[in-house]
Structure formats: C-alpha cells, structure tokens
Amino acid sequence: MELLIGAGVIAATLRLATPIAFAALGGVITERSGVTNIALEGCMLFGAFFGILAADKTGSAPLAVLIGLLAGTVLAAVHAVASVTWRADQIVTGMALNILALGVTSYLNYEIYGSGVPSGVPLLPALNLDFLAGVPFVGGVIGHQNVLVWLALVLVIVLQLYMFRTVAGLRLRAVGEHPRAADTVGIDVRRTRYWAVLASGGLAALGGVYLTVADTGSFTDGLTNGRGFIGLAAMIFGRWTPVGALVASLIFGYGDALSVSLQGVSIGDLRIPVQLLSTIPYLLTILAVAGFVGRSRPPAADGVPYESEGH
C-alpha cells in the first residue's frame, strides 16, 4: 500500500508532475489562441540549459529562473514570427525548433561543460513548511516541495482565472475559436497570438528550469526527454484548461512515480512491467482525442493561420 499511495509516492508525483504541468500550461495558452506549438519540448530544453548555465555563471538561482524563462521565450518568438506573421506550417517549424534546441544545447553543453556542470551551482530552495512536520501524510507530501512546484500550482489558478474570468481571457478564447469574428469586433488577432506563443515558450522553459536548477543541478543532452510532448498530451487530456492540464499532469506524474516505486516489485511470479505505466499518458491522450474517453475537442481555429480580409 505504501508503494501505491504513501506520502513518498504522492510527493514524488507532485515533483514529477511539475515540469509536465508547466509545459501543459504553455500549451493551453498558445492553443487557446489558435497556434499549435510542438516546439514546447525545445523551449523546455532551452530553459533547462540556459537556466543552469545562468545559475553557474551568475551564482544566483532567481536570476537563473529569469534567464531560463527568457531563453524559452526567445525560441518561441521564432515560432511566433514563422507561424503568425509568415503563416508557415506550424508543425514543420515546431519540429525544426525542437531539433534546433537539441542541437544548440548539446553543442554548447559540449563546448562549455565538456566534463559536466560543476557541482555547487546555486539551486532553488525547497519551501520547508515546518509547522506541517508533525502532520501525518500531508507533512510528507507538501512539507518540503520546491518553490517552483508551488509556483506551478499558483500559475494554474492564475491562468484558470485569467482564461475564464477576465476580459483578456475572453478575447484570447475568441481568437482561438473564431478569429474572423474577433477581428470584426476590433480584436487584434495577430497581437493576441504573439503574446500567447511567447507566454507558452516562457512557461515551458520554467518546466525546464525546474529540471536543472531545482531538481538535478546538472545537465545532460536531451535532458527533457519528451516531457514537453507529455505536456501537450496533458493539455489535450485536460481539455485545454489550466486546471484540467494540472489534473492530467498529476495523473501522468503519478504513473511516473509508480514506475519508480514499483521497480522490481513482483506480484507472485509476475514482475510488474513498470515501463508500461509510462505509456498511459499517450494512450489516454489518443483515446481522448478519438472520443473514446470523453471527447477532447481542440479550439476550432487551432493550427490554422489567420489571414485578415481586405482587397
């Protein structure tokens, strides 16, 4: 039982869900505006590398967060220019940026840290809630989580409110669903989409920053290992809402946590195939999009470049 729902597993779930949730939030913002951004993986990788690089060179963890975030935003800016202004194929551009991010970070990692990131780089601290120390379970789960885990949770709430409880959020959703309708009432479709794509890059980069500057303190080539894509899956499974994306991230993170805690465990003669747990996010997502598990419907204008009328 401890292996399935113990405080250790649940705490690990939160940790593992955090980078996924950041990417998923980024995905929600950009796709709600009508731009598909599969370069989230690359933005995350940028955040991870430039975050740890900044932590090492400046000696400041908060500055590292800022620089990591900026790096992801810059990569997203390329996507924004290509997909919003030039109306390029968003999948091709996204693929290219993912490969570019992998190449640039691996290249710089080799050139700068041929022998690995030195130890002793300043990292983001955990928030120690000592007053919870005595509380069973809860203390174990949230008593010592990193500040970025908390930031992710706060951002989920903030973005949920932004999207469904503010004027700007209303306009964002209108742009993603029916850009022409938004255009005819005077909403600037292009500007809305630009900001959304930039924000998505920044958010995904935070997930990357978490992996290096909060979690491991080191960098390896291709460190994000598909977490950006799991983030997209969480976005879809969470039906393009921040809270839904968080729930999906937690489900996916729980699967990851289980695959660690159940490693080598047997039921009778059968060793539990923990790796198969990791396929759950992807299978659930396919089933959700196909309408077999609920119906997950993307914004109507998602991935469709917008061209304003006028002759």
Partner: protein
C-alpha cells in the same frame, strides 16, 4: 414573444419615405472589379433614415459586394459614400462601426463555445480586467428589453438554434450603437416560423428609429417588410421602387432582366423512358440544417431537365446526393430502375452517371495534375489506362492528346498542368472526361460559370449533342437564359423543394422569376 406593433409606426416610416430631407446614406457611382469580373459598374444606393430598404438581385448581381464596400471589407475602385450628408471614407469594419453602421453577416460571426452575453459584448466589454459576467448579462438583458429581442444571455451559442443566433448577431450590432443595420440574406438559414419572428423584430427596430438594409432575393420578404427597393442586375442599377406602389411581377422582371436569347429550334428526342427518378428525397446541409425537404424529380432519356433557382436553395445538395457524395436521410434515387440511393460515387458512376461539379477547380479537377492525368480521373484503375494495377502511360498520353484535340482544349497539349489553363479550357477537360464515357445521365452544375461566350457556346453545343444521343441531362444553373435555352422541362427549386416543373414553352421569365423568389401562388396565374 413580442407583440406586433400597430400600423401607426409603419405610417410614420412611410412619412419619412415620402419626405426625404437628407438621405441617411448615399452611395454614388460605386465601381468594383475583381480580376476579369466587373462586379459593380457604377451603382447608386440611397437609403433614407428610418426606412427598411430592400437590396434585391440574383446571385452575382453585386448586392453583397456593395454592402461589403459599405462595411469597409472591400475598397471601391470609384464612387463616393455620403453618410448623413457628409462624405466618408470607410477603410475597415472599425470605421463603419464608428459611423453607426452594423452588419448582420450571413455566416454568423459568433464564437460557438461562448455565451450569448459574451458574444454580444466581445471586443467592447466596458470594464475589466476581471470579467463581470453578471454585469454583462444584465446589460445585454436591458438591451434585449429595449428592442424586444429575447435570448437567454447565459446560454451558449452552440446550444441555441440558428434563429436565436441571428438575434445575437442583431444584439451585437445594437450594442455598439448602430443606426444603420445591414442584413445579409437574413432568412437564408431560418425556418418559416423563425422568418416571421425576424420580421417582427425588423419592424420593431424601425419603430425604434433604426434604418435597415435587407439584402435578399425573396420577393415575399421584400413585399412583407420593406419600404423601398433597389434592384441590382449584373453590377448595375435595374430599378428603384417604392414597395407600396409595386408588385412581385415588376420586381421579378427587374431582377431577371429582359435580355431574351433566341431559343434554338430543337427536335424532340425524348422517349418516355425515365433514366433518373428521385422521390421524396431529403438530406441535410453541411451545417446540419435541412437542405432537401422532399424532392421529386424525373429525367427521361434524351431530355434536358433544367433546375432553376437562386443559389443555396438545395441545388448543390441535390447533385451531391445523386452522386453519392452526401448521405440521403429520406427518399430514394434510381438510375435506369436500379436503386442507387446509398451507393458511393464509384458505383453510381459505374451505372453510367457522369458529373460535372459546380466548382471545377476544387471538385472537378486535380489542379497540379496534367490534362492527360485529369482525363483519367476515376478511370485510373480500368483498361485501357491501367492493366493489373499498373498505369498504361502510353494509352494515357495518347488518349490525352486525342481528347485535348477533340474537346478543343487550348493549348492542345495534354502534358500541360491543368491549373495553368483558362477557366473555359479547364471546363472542357472536365466535360471531355465525363462525356467521353458515353454516359446515360449527366448531372451538370453551373456549366458555364465564369466562362466567356465562345466557351459557353461550346459547352452548350456538347450538351445538346449528348441529348441528341439519348443521354438524360440534369442541368443545374443559376443562369436563367442558359436554363431556358437548353431545357426541355424546367424544375424550379426553392428552399429545398421543387416548387414547380414547367414545360419549356410555358416557362416565361416572369413565371420563373416569381417561382424562384418563392412566389408560387402568383406564378400560377
């Protein structure tokens, strides 16, 4: 619901009509050209304050282009617009809205997952950053009460019927303080009950002092609610009428025009053998609304049956149902006695049905393919063009050149990419492909749209040839001249039904015009 206003209001509006001081809107000499097409050729439109003004004409007469210019979506090549006596330049919808001009689009500009209230205020939320849903809904409710237009503000657009969605479009325009409301084909998607309700709202708006322009081709509506009428025909003014002083026949005549072409004398070739029989056919449009509401139709061997009607009354859907491209919800279709109601296109075509679709660039041809490759579209797996699944390049090239020559495709080279040909030559490729198989039935839609005179004549001659051969032809066209020149019998479609089938000799333009405009009673006299 809203009680109809007493006649007094109508009298008030009529007074305005009678004593026009400065017109609210004055468009003079408007010209607009799209490539080869002169869409507007010096059109005038004068609308007085407080009236309901009908803008009437057939498809392609220039109604929507004129209104898109007024709303700033297109820029005119020439002409002036005066609003309240002042000359204005309208460069975009924002300018139009600022002047007090609002447009109720034919394809609603509504965001389906958002609520009614959110759609009404979108872009002009007055408040924020937080979205005060309650305040917005109250504001919309107040607006609804003022104009007597009722829609639940908290309902989602995707959950309410089209008739109510249209009210939201109207509310959107009123919310922005528009004085002049343009309705683009407002009844096209409505049920008859919804149309009646719309008219109540329209009269109510006039009573509130609004001015309305109604783009339409339906005479019943024109006569029922408007005060004055501007008729356009082929990008020019055809008539200016006062509703009370005119009648359906006069409007129809102005709409259709008087340019009669000489009918070719033709020997009757029809046997009595029916080739196509359609009975009680029903089908849905792409939007899920009823498009065909019980169509009955027969085409016999050696006979051309023309389907007349203003575009969007179910003609396209009828052709698609026959081919098997659109699911039939009720009724049956038989070809040569065999039931093909549920057959896919391949099997339908195997029964000798040929199809020339209305949009040749999207449906008729694979534009990046060569002429020769387009000639074999649909025959790519049959001899002589393929043997055991392998294309016979020589046969394809040889027949391509032969057909290009036979059907006078210019340049007469089957290796040319079809997309680079002119519209007329593209149509020859489609036609050549379809009739070279000696079909028993040809379904042909808008066969000469966008073609020049020579190409048009060419297409007509080929069709008459096929008729003489004994082929049955279903000719769908919005060109009345074409229908009258070619058809043995003419079926008129209106709102998803065949409202009448006339022998060509009885089909005067007046009668056709009235029938096309949904005026079946008047046409029978």
């Amino acid at each position: 619901m809203i009680a109809p206003r007493p006649e007094r209001e109508r009298g008030t509006a009529a007074t305005v009509v009678a004593t026009p001081l400065v017109p609210l809107l004055e468009m003079r000499g408007i010209r607009k050209r799209f490539g080869e097409l002169q869409a507007l050729d010096g059109v005038d439109l004068v609308v007085n304050e407080g009236e309901i003004h009908a803008l009437v004409g057939e498809n392609g007469a220039g109604k929507t282009t004129l209104m898109n210019i007024l709303y700033g979506l297109y820029h005119p090549d020439a002409g002036t617009i005066r609003y309240r006596g002042r000359e204005v330049r309208i460069t975009g919808p924002r300018d139009a809205i600022a002047l007090g001009i609002g447009m109720i689009h034919q394809h609603f500009m509504l965001v389906p997952p958002l609520t009614v209230a959110e759609n009404v205020v979108l872009g002009d939320e007055r408040g924020g950053p937080p979205l005060d849903t309650r305040a917005i809904e109250q504001r919309v409710r107040a607006l609804e009460e003022r104009f007597g237009i009722v829609v639940e503000p908290s309902a989602r657009i995707e959950d309410i019927p089209l008739g109510l969605q249209q009210r939201v479009e109207i509310l959107k325009v009123l919310y922005r303080g528009s004085e002049l409301l343009i309705f683009d084909e407002p009844t096209a998607v409505l049920t008859p009950q919804e149309v009646d309700e719309l008219f109540v709202i329209v009269r109510q708006l006039r009573a509130e002092g609004k001015t309305l322009i109604l783009i339409t081709h339906k005479l019943r509506e024109v006569l029922a609610v408007t005060d004055r009428i501007t008729v356009l025909r082929q990008g020019r003014n055809a008539a200016q009428l006062v509703t009370k002083e005119t009648n359906a026949a006069e409007i129809a005549k102005a709409m259709v025009g008087r340019e009669l072409k000489e009918l070719k004398a033709r020997a009757a070739t029809g046997t009595s053998l029916p080739i196509l029989q359609i009975s009680r056919l029903e089908a849905l449009s792409d939007r899920g609304t009823p498009a065909l509401r019980g169509v009955d139709l027969v085409v016999r061997e050696g006979e051309i049956v023309g389907v007349a009607g203003v575009g969007g009354n179910g003609q396209s859907e009828l052709a698609q149902c026959i081919l098997g491209l659109r699911p039939v919800t009720e009724g049956t279709i038989t070809v040569g006695g065999a039931d093909i109601t549920r057959d896919p296109p391949k099997r339908t075509r195997a029964r000798g049905v040929a199809y020339v679709p209305e949009d040749r660039r999207v449906e008729g041809l694979v534009l990046p393919f060569t002429v020769a490759d387009n000639f074999i579209l649909g025959k790519q797996d049959r001899e002589p063009y393929a043997r055991r699944g392998v294309l016979e390049r020589e046969a394809i090239a040889k027949d391509g050149d032969r057909l290009a020559k036979d059907f006078d495709v210019r340049p007469p080279n089957a290796k040319v990419i079809v997309g680079t040909l002119s519209g007329g030559n593209q149509q020859k490729v489609v036609l050549g492909r379809e009739i070279s198989e000696s079909p028993r039935l040809i379904v042909i839609s808008q066969p000469t749209r966008g073609l020049d005179i020579a190409a048009t004549e060419y297409v007509h001659e080929r069709l008459l040839e096929q008729r003489a051969r004994g082929c049955g032809i279903l000719l769908i066209s919005s060109e009345l001249d074409e229908i009258r020149a070619l058809s043995d019998r003419i079926a008129v479609m209106f709102e998803g039904r065949i409202v009448a089938t006339l022998d060509a000799a009885d089909a005067t333009e007046d009668r056709l015009g009235l029938l096309m405009a949904g005026h079946a009673e008047a046409a029978s006299h």
